[in-house]
């Protein structure tokens, strides 16, 4: 499939879909168990024996499911409310995405504890590789046929599989940590790179290769990211990205935080995205609770999310140009970011991690005078963007460094699960804000910037244009901000509107319970994806009818983007890799969670 074959993205159709008919027709209805959820897509259980057939069929359908959007597991052993579902101790789920249908499907496989293995699907979607490694690492589920099933998030010497329900989440449940000389050497030895493990040769017929360990501490690695390069001179023959240095176990933490108190953790997933990270989480929780928020809340949320999109893109722009070797622009973009933070700080009270969205609303109403601040920013930024374009982005050295560098096309992008600006720079018009509007984005006028070469330069230009469009959206929020409450009138809104708590005992009790104990979400599954700063970010929540999430799966764009690196960069030079890493726009917290 190429970009040209899609004229327009079909309207988004959740739930009821022809694909179930197509599947039933091919395999028979008794092969599938349909699970009703609030995920906005059909969720089908299949037996392990049928899995590869079903997935291959979906991959090869007319209007195929081209992208393996997500793949992960669930430990089902403590789940109480799973009536009508196949017996399972563990589940592996496959979330597939079709661009042409503009819809998704989720396939689940039930596994028993004594027999934890499923066939690997790398041959169908190459990006299954890292996801399967992660599931093995965190759940201990074996993927037969996987070429390199090793730990990816945890250190190679780690014992146990942390996301299992019987694996403790608190440090106090472990013996105190100690590190002696022998242990340190053991760890260091385990982290040593052995090319043979990865099927790499140490030398060719006439030459030896150099293995260069770039990172986890390197000025252009954008965080604790390690990539081992097999070099012939300065040419990259092959490379192995190594992640996990920033892993904090956000998904595990979600299982012991209340629905409400997990919000601040989401800010720190893509730490440049601020409240943008809250959005998929609260939208997803609201789906579980069945909350519809007032218009004013949608507008405020959109406005703040777009502020953070600009902020993240500005940081990208500065560091990207710096990675290509120009030292000055980064200082100017940080000046602009300071301007944005001035507004953000006035409205939310915080800068990088406001944790400001709430279940059913936002933390408080907009302060008096907010419109003046926003107006100042909206008038300031476009002029600066023009300047960057003229002074830095049209520079012939920069163009020479980035045009044609790290190029991939739409087909490759979809194969590797690339989303966001990286996907749109290949010419595919797929922006969730247009394709699957959420949080009221359908009410705004803006364009989706596209480019066609899919190289490092295009990815940058798309983001610069996206900032202009974000300014347009913010302008519309400024002009049309509706009046009304900043919290939904719903029993599960957390914290509940304060005014009534002082007058009526029912609400006081609810307020007390929700703040101390946390709200209880009905048992179900919900899912929300958004067009975040770096690509598509989503939260797939499973509630077991408790104050805490049973399973929170956070799918982040950067994970997929890093997995793609070897397929894009092999054959280029070290300097190209740096320009490429800059153009991906990732933060390691968004990769490792």
């Amino acid at each position: 499939m190429t970009a040209d074959s899609i004229l327009s993205i079909a309207p988004y159709q959740p739930d009821v879909q022809p694909v179930i008919g197509e599947l039933n027709q091919r395999f028979g209805a008794d092969v599938f168990t349909v699970q009703t959820t609030r995920t906005g897509m059909p969720v089908l259980w299949v037996a392990r024996e049928q899995l590869v057939n079903v997935l291959t069929f979906l991959r090869n359908l007319p209007r195929p499911y081209v992208m393996l959007y997500d793949l992960h597991g669930v430990d089902e052993r403590l789940r109480t409310q799973r009536r009508g579902l196949p017996d399972a101790d563990f589940t592996v789920f496959y979330h597939l995405m079709s661009i042409e249908r503009n819809s998704d499907i989720m396939i689940k496989v039930a596994l028993r504890e004594g027999d934890l293995n499923v066939p690997s699907i790398i041959s169908i979607w190459p990006n299954a590789n890292w996801y399967e490694r992660e599931v093995w690492d965190l759940y201990g589920i074996t993927f037969t046929g996987h070429p390199h099933l090793t730990r990816i998030m945890m250190p190679p010497t780690w014992e146990g599989h942390p996301l299992r329900k019987d694996y403790p989440a608190r440090a106090t449940e472990f013996d105190p940590f100690s590190l002696n000389r022998a242990k340190q050497e053991l760890e260091e030895e385990a982290a040593r790179f052995r090319p043979e493990d990865w099927g790499m040769k140490r030398g060719g017929e006439h030459e030896d290769y150099m293995f260069l360990n770039l990172g986890p501490n390197h000025p252009s690695a954008h965080g604790a990211f390690r990539i081992i390069l097999q070099l012939d001179g300065e040419e990259i023959v092959d490379c192995v990205p190594d992640i996990g240095y920033h892993h904090r176990g956000a998904e595990k933490m979600a299982e012991r935080q209340s629905w409400h108190s997990f919000i601040p953790y989401t800010d720190r997933i893509d730490y440049l995205g601020g409240v943008m990270n809250n959005l998929p989480y609260v939208l997803s929780v609201e789906k579980l609770a069945g909350i519809k928020v007032p218009d004013r809340v949608d507008f405020i949320r959109v406005m703040m999310a777009e502020f953070f999109r600009i902020n993240s893109h500005l940081l990208f722009l500065g560091t990207y140009i710096q990675d290509v070797g120009a030292m000055t622009p980064v200082f100017f973009t940080f000046t602009d970011r300071q301007r944005a933070y001035k507004v953000i700080e006035a409205i939310t009270g915080f800068r990088m991690h406001p944790a400001w969205y709430r279940i059913g609303g936002v933390a408080h109403d907009l302060p008096r005078g907010w419109d003046k601040l926003v107006k100042e920013f909206v008038e300031w930024l476009p002029k600066r963007l023009d300047e960057y374009e003229k002074a830095a982005l049209q520079n012939s050295i920069l163009r020479g460094r980035t045009i044609g560098v790290a190029q991939y096309n739409t087909k490759e992008a979809l194969e590797w699960g690339v989303t966001g600006s990286g996907l749109r720079s290949t010419g595919l018009d797929f922006d969730l804000r247009k394709a699957r509007p959420y949080s009221g984005y359908e009410n705004f006028e803006f364009e989706v910037p596209l480019a066609h070469n899919g190289d490092a330069y295009d990815r940058c230009m798309v983001r610069v244009e996206e900032m202009r469009q974000s300014v347009r959206i913010i302008e519309q929020c400024l002009r049309n901000m509706p009046e009304g409450p900043y919290k939904a009138d719903h029993p599960l809104t957390t914290p509940p509107p304060k005014e009534r708590t002082l007058r009526d005992i029912e609400t006081l009790i609810t307020h007390f319970l929700q703040v101390s104990w946390g709200p209880v979400m009905p048992a179900n599954e919900a899912f929300q994806m958004i067009e975040a700063t770096k690509g598509i970010n989503s939260y797939y929540l499973t509630s077991d009818g408790s104050t805490m999430s049973y399973r929170t799966r956070i799918r982040t764009p950067s994970f997929a983007h890093l997995q793609q690196i070897p397929s894009v960069i092999n054959g280029s030079m070290v300097a190209d890799l740096i320009a490429y890493l800059g153009s991906i726009d990732f933060v390691m917290a968004d990769v490792d969670r």
């Binding site: 252009s220 140009i321 070797g325 120009a326 000055t328 200082f331 520079n395 050295i397 460094r401 300097a575």
Partner: protein, 330 residues
Amino acid sequence: MSWLTPEVIDVIIAVAKAVVILLAVVICGALLSFFERRLLGWWQDRYGPNRVGPFGSLQIVADMLKMFFKEDWTPPFADKAVFIIAPMIAFAAMLLAFAIIPVTPNWGVADLNIGILFFFAMAGLSVYAVLFAGWSSNNKFALLGSLRASAQTISYEVFLALSLMGIVAQVGSFNMRDIVDYQAQHLWFIIPQFFGFCTFFVAGVAVTHRHPFDQPEAEQELADGYHIEYAGMKWGMFFVGEYIGIVTISALLVTLFFGGWHGPFGILPQIPFIWFALKTCFFIMLFILLRASIPRPRYDQVMAFSWKFCLPLTLINLLVTGALVLAAAQ
């Protein structure tokens, strides 16, 4: 005091002058680190060092104190002798090259009649600093940096020399004072040798490993490249050596193309040193401005620029100059 003949006094004065000039160059080089940071700060909407002393002017003292008292660490896996020699070469080569520059009619370290050739020799030597440092560090990033340095130097030294041959052909001498005098009598060489100036400037930046020809260091790619393993005063010598290189190249540009100590149109001949210093400062500023303003090309693009653009341009310039000189002679 019979040994104190006028000849000996002359020698003593010459040595004293030489020491004063070279010390001044070293101090200028050291101070440049402060000025560069302030200028960059000024161009980049920020302050730069402004805390130590008035306007931050004592920052350099603080930096030097820090550097002197830092552990002078030599990695156990390094080749010790070569590792120690490298920063010395970096420091000395460009400083020695300054010896040929006539600062004023009476001041100058050495009046060599092969002045320009001596500079080429020193420029050629200075690459050994990078090569030795990269090789002896036994570090892959450093090795890649020094590989880049050697490739870059080979490419740029070729036309570094050729770009000045036009001047030599016109003046008929390698002596710097002759060149300055010639410019005072005729035009400054920036006009007849404009292409020579362009290519020499490019090559000059490359010789000092300054941005955008800082391929051997390339912080974003090689994480400081060849001097990655250096610390303390050894690193300081590389650092100051780089600034001395800037001073030397700037002074050379002034001497060769902008009439040395002469003012434009012969105005104010009473202040030769001021003219020289002003013009040199201008070029030093240009070096810093370059660093502030442009990105770094990829290493193969740098090589291609050298071989496919600069070298042909230099050769054409040399041919045309030669033809004109011959025509004028007949």
